[in-house]
Symmetry: C2
Subunit: 212 residues, 2 copies
Amino acid sequence: MKTEPTAAPPCTGPRRGRPRSEAAEQAIFAAVEEQMATGTSLSELTIEGIATAAGVGKATIYRRWPNKEALLVDMVSRLEEPLPSGTGSIRGDLVAMIEYMRLRGLAKRSRWVLKAALGQMQSWPELHAAYRERVIVPRREAARDVIRRGVAEGELRADLDEELLGDLLIGPILARSILWDDSDLDDPELAERMVDALLGGLAGPALRPVPA
Amino acid sequence: MKTEPTAAPPCTGPRRGRPRSEAAEQAIFAAVEEQMATGTSLSELTIEGIATAAGVGKATIYRRWPNKEALLVDMVSRLEEPLPSGTGSIRGDLVAMIEYMRLRGLAKRSRWVLKAALGQMQSWPELHAAYRERVIVPRREAARDVIRRGVAEGELRADLDEELLGDLLIGPILARSILWDDSDLDDPELAERMVDALLGGLAGPALRPVPA
């Protein structure tokens, strides 16, 4: 996690008096987020409105993005941190992936943008396409990669197709982080509990074979 | 499935010349759906625009609903058919529930309204609340009921909390029907495959205890 510096860095000539680029971008992103969280639809967003809310000139926005579509797509693409890399075991990789999604679900901005991207799919196909390309596809690819290795190494069942395995493993955390407003993502052991329940199966004693 | 009658019913005096109520409602619902599918946001929808698109007078709409919010909420509440009732076994009840959601996911209107309700959560809390109350809560309650019986009868594990069991059982079909655009809901055996995989567990031979 990044924290804001508590004191301004020393002024060094040329940048003096100019808004720091990073600060302006953060103010712009925050303004977009704030506007949408308070009910502005994507189609109602304007560069002028964003500039006013962010306290910057329109030129500051247009220097970075040619239009609001490009701004939103850029915002979406920056939401994602790199996916976790291999932990050395399939179970560990699955837990790491679900834990990553749990933490993304806890991050408010990410949650909001996903909902907006889903809700505006038809009316704003570019945003949906950007979300798909930068967020959904890499996650699904990463999941598929772990699943393929799991099947090859005998740690996952070989009689289910990859897509079904992916939905069974990833669907529950998606439902909990996106679809339910009130559901609990705070449990730090949630990812482990999910993976172990899925691997071991949900059947109770009445459906288990009697030990010989 | 209902099919449209191929011939008009015989005119019977008093109703002659008046638009049939059912036909007007269907035209109004279709107009709303069409407008939103082609990019009109919920906040941009107007009674006037809906009336024009549906080929009815504004009064025809206002006779039924006081405002567009009430119209949309009514539309949401009619999306849902009754949930399936008990099949006699826990496995059968789980399959029936997931099959119901698969069929709802295949129904375009239902899919679109869910996305809209999710995307507009912040800006239109009434619609989201209606969706929650009429669609989400009854489904979760029905799932919880099956799960409770399953745990009590020993067909589901007793060491997992109900909410986690619910997300593990329902999350995959939700992900597949709502979150992925391109995913396959056509397989008529999907619900059975999901339930049996979840009950039996996803672990492969390398993670299974060696039979004694």
